[in-house]
Structure formats: structure tokens, C-alpha cells
């Protein structure tokens, strides 16, 4: 009798080629050992605090709160982490784990380039070889991040297959892993893929809500009424939600990239427009046609431009514990500009999706309510693309 592991309700599992099964089992075994190992946790905490700049600030956005005229808004500032996004949390954990497992080489996929940059950074710090797969389309949208990865000593391989975006970068990284397993760890960047990745990545990202929960209790003496984060694969969102899941009065809101709208074909809002399927190692929701062919998706944000969502999000949606709302390109770009102007904080275009929804929600809530928005990354990387969106051509 076979046994399926890593389930979140019906979602999750391990739908991968036999060639990778022992590598995945070895990873699971190593993770189960090290996650409770005091020495591993001491080293990781030290990297978080001394290298990545944790804990990240929970900042009361007073001006934003007043402008919107409703709930009190706090920003969880993952953009202030070293390398400029939440991606470093997961990468430091996985790279340290890989090193303990005797691996000498990291491979990764990247969309916006934030995970690629974070992986390249950890590889440089820990003295590991690094190869990053990035859709050719994204290497153009995020040329600066390609340069950063190379500067950090990584090789960047542009992926030309399929839609030449994040999904194809994941496929290509998986193909590469089946070619070279013994010395290589696939440092997956989101809470997706086969078990144990959704659990490992969640646990490393859960530092976000572990900190924010304590920070809001210190500042306000109570829990927030809503936590809002953007969702592509869903790693910053699950990290932002995780420690609030048992607190049923805290609304958990994931903001999906609707692109040009969920009533168009140019969207990446998986929970809102997809259906259940099996892809990239997991059962979850995917944008696909009636025959199960994965749909080409679209978003202005290279980091949210993915046709699936992590299995734990699919489960939180099924049981009604979290809400997943669509946010369009237009709304996200407006929020990108708005937060920059009002608070002097330029958010990543991914995070701007969460800000956009908060701009709609906050005014409908009473002034004694509290919202936490996770600013998953900083927006420097997006300035050229947003300028282009507004019809202005600037040199990067």
C-alpha cells in the first residue's frame, strides 16, 4: 500500500519523477532532524539577526492610516531585510540545511529575481556554487537583478521554453535537479512543489508572523483584525499568516495578481480563476484549460506571474480560513505610487498588490481596528517597469 505524504486537506503530495524520490526523502529526513536541532537553530537565528537584519520592523504607518481614514495600519517591513525581500528567510534556512547535508551546489528558479538574488547571496556567504534559472522574459523585465546575481558569483540561465516566465523557470530547475542530484540542492523559492518543500519554506517564512504577533502585542496589547499579504506561490503570505491561523478573529487575506482582470485571459489569479489539478509536484489550484493544459498567465509582477498556488493556501481557501482576493495591475501600480508618496516607502510591485487591497479595506473599518500589511520586498527593482507602464522610458 502506498502512502502519500505532505497533505493539506486534499492538496500537496509528491507528484515528481521517480528519479527525484530518494533526494526528496533524504531532504525530508534531514529537515526533520535539523528543525529541532538546537545548534542548527542557533546558527540560523544568528544568520537572521546578524546577517539578514531581523527582526524586521513592524512600522505604524500613521500618515497612511490618516489618509485612508479607517483602520490603523501597520507595515511588516520585510523590504528592510538584507537583499530587499522576505526571500532571504527561506534561503538562509535551506542553504544552511543543504550545507549540513553535504551539498555544495544550489540551484533555484526565480521570477522577479528576488529569490534568485537571495539564493546567490546565501551561496556566496556559505561558499556554495549557484545556478539560477530565470524566464527569458523576466531577465528583460528584471535586468538589474540578473546583474546582481552575476555580481554575487552565480550563473544565470535564461529559460526560453513555454512562456519564458516563472513557471518555465521552475520546470527547468526541476529538470536540472534530475540531471545532477548528488551534490545539488534545489532551493525552491516558494511554498510549493512536492512535499517537504511547502512545509520547509513555510516554517522558515513563519518567522514573519512569529515576530509580528509579538510586536503587535507589545505595541497594541492585542492581535490585529486583518493580516494582508500578496500571493504568487504564497511564501510571504503563508509566513505572514502562519502564527495567526489558530486566532480565528484575525482575518487572513491573500492578494492575487489579477493582471488585466479576472474576467480576462491575462490574469494570474489562481484561486479566483483556476481549478484543482496536479503540477510541479503538488496537487493544488492551477490556471488550466478543460484538458488540464497549464494556462499562460499574466501579471505586471514577475514574482506573482505563476499559474499555481501553494497547497496550504489552497487548503486555507477550502476551509474558509483565509480569503483570496484579486488585485489588478492598475490597482497595484496606483498603490506602488501611493505608498511611495504617502509614507516614503517604495514597495515591490508584488507587495503593492497587498497595499492596494488594504487601501480598499481600511476605509471600511472602524478606527479602532488594526491591519497588518506585509511589505514583502522593496520596489527599487520595479522602478523602470513602472515608469514604462506610465509611458516613461528611463535608463536602469
Amino acid at each position: 500500500m502506498s502512502q502519500s505524504k505532505g497533505r493539506f486537506g486534499v492538496h500537496g503530495g509528491q507528484y515528481i519523477p521517480e528519479t527525484l524520490m530518494n533526494a526528496i526523502n533524504e531532504l525530508e529526513k534531514a529537515y526533520n532532524h535539523y528543525k529541532d536541532d538546537p545548534e542548527f537553530n542557533r546558527e540560523l537565528t544568528q544568520l537572521f539577526n546578524e546577517y539578514a537584519g531581523r527582526p524586521s520592523l513592524l512600522y505604524y504607518a500613521e500618515k497612511l492610516t490618516k489618509e485612508l481614514g479607517g483602520a490603523k495600519i501597520y507595515l511588516k517591513r520585510e523590504d528592510l531585510n538584507h537583499t530587499g525581500s522576505h526571500k532571504i528567510n527561506n534561503v538562509l534556512g535551506q542553504a544552511l540545511l543543504a550545507k549540513k547535508m553535504g551539498k555544495t551546489r544550489l540551484i533555484a528558479e526565480t521570477g522577479a529575481g528576488q529569490h534568485g538574488v537571495a539564493t546567490a547571496t546565501a551561496a556566496a556567504l556559505l561558499g556554495m556554487e549557484c545556478v539560477v534559472f530565470m524566464g527569458e522574459e523576466d531577465t528583460k523585465r528584471q535586468a538589474l537583478n540578473v546583474y546582481r546575481m552575476k555580481l554575487l558569483g552565480s550563473e544565470v540561465i535564461p529559460v526560453t521554453t513555454g512562456t519564458a516566465t516563472l513557471k518555465d523557470a521552475v520546470s527547468e530547475a526541476m529538470r536540472e535537479w534530475t540531471k545532477r542530484i548528488s551534490d545539488t540542492h534545489y532551493c525552491l523559492g516558494s511554498v510549493m512543489g512536492p512535499h517537504p518543500f511547502p512545509t520547509i519554506v513555510r516554517d522558515f517564512q513563519a518567522v514573519i508572523s512569529r515576530e509580528s504577533r509579538q510586536q503587535i502585542l507589545d505595541k497594541e496589547g492585542r492581535l490585529p483584525d486583518a493580516v494582508i499579504a500578496c500571493v504568487g506561490g504564497g511564501s510571504n503570505a503563508i509566513g505572514s499568516f502562519y502564527h495567526y491561523i489558530p486566532d480565528e478573529n484575525v482575518r487572513l487575506i491573500g492578494c492575487e495578481a489579477a493582471g488585466r482582470g479576472i474576467d480576462t485571459f491575462e490574469t494570474a489569479a489562481t484561486v479566483n480563476t483556476g481549478k484543482i489539478g496536479i503540477f510541479h509536484g503538488m496537487k493544488s489550484y492551477f490556471c488550466q484549460d478543460e484538458y488540464g493544459q497549464i494556462a499562460p498567465v499574466y501579471s505586471i509582477s514577475a514574482g506573482l506571474d505563476y499559474p499555481g498556488v501553494g497547497p496550504e493556501h489552497a487548503y486555507l481557501h477550502d476551509i474558509g480560513r483565509a480569503e483570496y482576493v484579486p488585485v489588478t495591475d492598475d490597482e497595484a501600480v496606483n498603490a506602488f505610487e501611493y505608498l511611495s508618496r504617502v509614507e516614503g516607502i517604495i514597495p515591490a510591485i508584488e507587495s503593492a498588490h497587498a497595499v492596494a487591497y488594504a487601501m480598499k479595506l481600511a476605509p471600511t473599518m472602524d478606527k479602532d481596528k488594526i491591519i497588518i500589511i506585509t511589505i514583502s520586498g522593496r520596489g527599487d527593482k520595479d522602478c523602470a517597469a513602472i515608469a514604462r507602464y506610465r509611458g516613461e522610458d528611463i535608463y536602469e
Binding site: 524520490m21 513557471k167 534530475t178 489539478g277 492551477f286 488550466q288
Partner: protein, 258 residues
């Protein structure tokens, strides 16, 4: 008894892989008949998938061409029904889990039975996940073909014990595609299989030349070739049936010479 066993009653088996609808179903039908006439013992029919993560560039290309040509799972079932009027050798599907899942496991397997498909290979459905479809595949008598890889190690015995149809031995690490050399100790894997089951086993991934096929069939029950055939179809398009037939004849002779 599984119909697939017939493929292994003609000496060593030669098993070609063909993507349905590349470049169109009319050509695929001619290619399948040419391969069968030339001595193919079993044919793997690929149902194209948009994102075939176990395939190298050659078969990825075939998937893209087939989907661009408008082929669908329904059209492929109709195509197999038509093929079955004269093609008697065992036929198995090779596709990805989502193609079956989205069609509905039971509906998919029942249509396999109706149209005359004998088995199915799903490279992204490992042993631990086979319960996804195993109840319905058993119900309709469709063999779920297991894969064993060079990295399977202690898993090989477990997989072999539950195997049905035939066992697909993956010759090397990585994705499908032509390789100049195969360095895996296949004999060792075959030994484990023989100790655990009498289900036949054939070797695939990277085989393109007669001498490789002969060597691999020599240590197992047959050889599987995909990318080398897809390359012929890519090169000759609608004229490819003749060339595929000639190639299959050459390869069947090579494996028979063992």
C-alpha cells in the same frame, strides 16, 4: 493476464514512443502503422502536455507542436479507436498526471478500455502517489507502468513487487533525450527486478543507436526509444512514416540479434 505481456513474446522487445498529433493525427496514424509493420512490439503514445517536466528539448518540442495543432485528449481517444481497427500490438499512453486528473480518472480509464489502450505511463506519479488512479485503472484493466531510476536504490524492490504491465527502467539521470553513453549499472537494477517480479522490464532514456538498443535489450527485456524517433518526425514531417518504419526495422533487428 495483461495484454502487454504479448509485446515480450517475440524475443527482445523494441518499443517506440510517438507524440500524438505531431505534426497532426493523420501523420501519427501513419507513423504508428509503419512502426507496427516494421516490427515494433509495443507503442507508447504520448498525449501532449503543456509543461512536460520530465522531457528534454526534443520531446518538449513535439508537445508544443502537437498542442499548437489543436490536438486534445478527446481527439486522441477517437484516434486510438480508429487505430485499433487494424493495429493489434499493445498500446500504452504516456502523459502527465494532470491530463488524466483533469479528464477525471474514472472517465479517462474507461475511455482507455473502450478505445483499446492497455496501459499508462505517468512520469510524475511515483509509487507513493499511485493510489491517485490505481483503483480506477484496476477497475478497467489498464496497467499502470512503473518507472525505476538509477537513483531508486532501495525503492526498486518495493516498486517491482507492485509492478504491472512492464517496468520502465530509466537508463540515466536527467530528462529524456539522446545520449552518447549510458553509464548506469542497469544489470544491477534488472537483478533486483527479477528477484521481485516476473513482470518484464525495458530500458529507455537516451537510446538512439542500434548498438545501444542491443546492449540495453541484452541486459533487460527490451529497449524504448523516444527522442530519436521524434527527431525523425520533426525532420520529415508528413513524409516521416517511411523513415520511422525504416528506423524501427533497424532497431528491431538490433534487439533481436541479442
Amino acid at each position: 493476464m495483461s495484454n502487454i505481456r504479448k509485446a515480450f513474446e517475440n524475443g527482445k522487445a523494441f518499443i517506440p514512443f510517438i507524440t500524438c498529433g505531431d505534426p497532426d493525427l493523420e501523420t501519427t496514424a501513419k507513423v504508428v502503422r509503419a512502426a507496427a509493420d516494421a516490427g515494433a512490439d509495443l507503442i507508447e503514445l504520448g498525449i501532449p502536455f503543456s509543461d512536460p517536466t520530465a522531457e528534454g528539448p526534443v520531446i518538449q518540442g513535439a508537445n508544443i507542436r502537437a498542442l499548437a495543432g489543436g490536438v486534445t485528449t478527446d481527439k486522441i481517444f477517437d484516434f486510438v479507436t480508429e487505430l485499433r481497427r487494424d493495429v493489434k500490438i499493445p498500446l500504452v499512453f504516456m502523459t502527465y498526471a494532470n491530463v488524466v486528473f483533469s479528464y477525471g480518472g474514472e472517465r479517462f480509464m474507461s475511455r482507455c478500455k473502450e478505445s483499446g489502450i492497455d496501459g499508462i505511463i505517468l512520469p510524475d506519479l511515483p509509487y507513493e502517489e499511485k493510489d491517485e488512479f490505481s483503483d480506477v485503472s484496476k477497475k478497467y484493466g489498464i496497467d499502470m507502468i512503473s518507472l525505476i531510476a538509477p537513483t531508486s536504490e532501495d525503492r526498486a524492490a518495493m516498486i517491482a513487487k507492485d509492478a504491472e504491465g512492464f517496468i520502465y527502467i530509466v537508463s540515466s539521470l536527467g530528462v529524456t533525450g539522446v545520449r552518447s553513453e549510458i553509464n548506469t549499472d542497469i544489470s544491477r537494477i534488472v537483478k533486483v527486478i527479477r528477484e521481485n517480479t516476473d513482470v518484464p522490464c525495458a530500458v529507455g532514456f537516451g537510446i538512439s543507436e542500434p548498438r545501444q538498443a542491443q546492449k540495453m535489450a541484452g541486459i533487460s527485456d527490451g529497449a524504448i526509444v523516444g527522442s530519436a524517433i521524434i527527431k525523425i518526425i520533426e525532420q520529415y514531417g508528413k513524409d516521416s512514416p517511411y523513415y520511422v518504419g525504416e528506423y524501427v526495422r533497424l532497431m528491431k533487428e538490433a534487439v533481436s540479434g541479442v
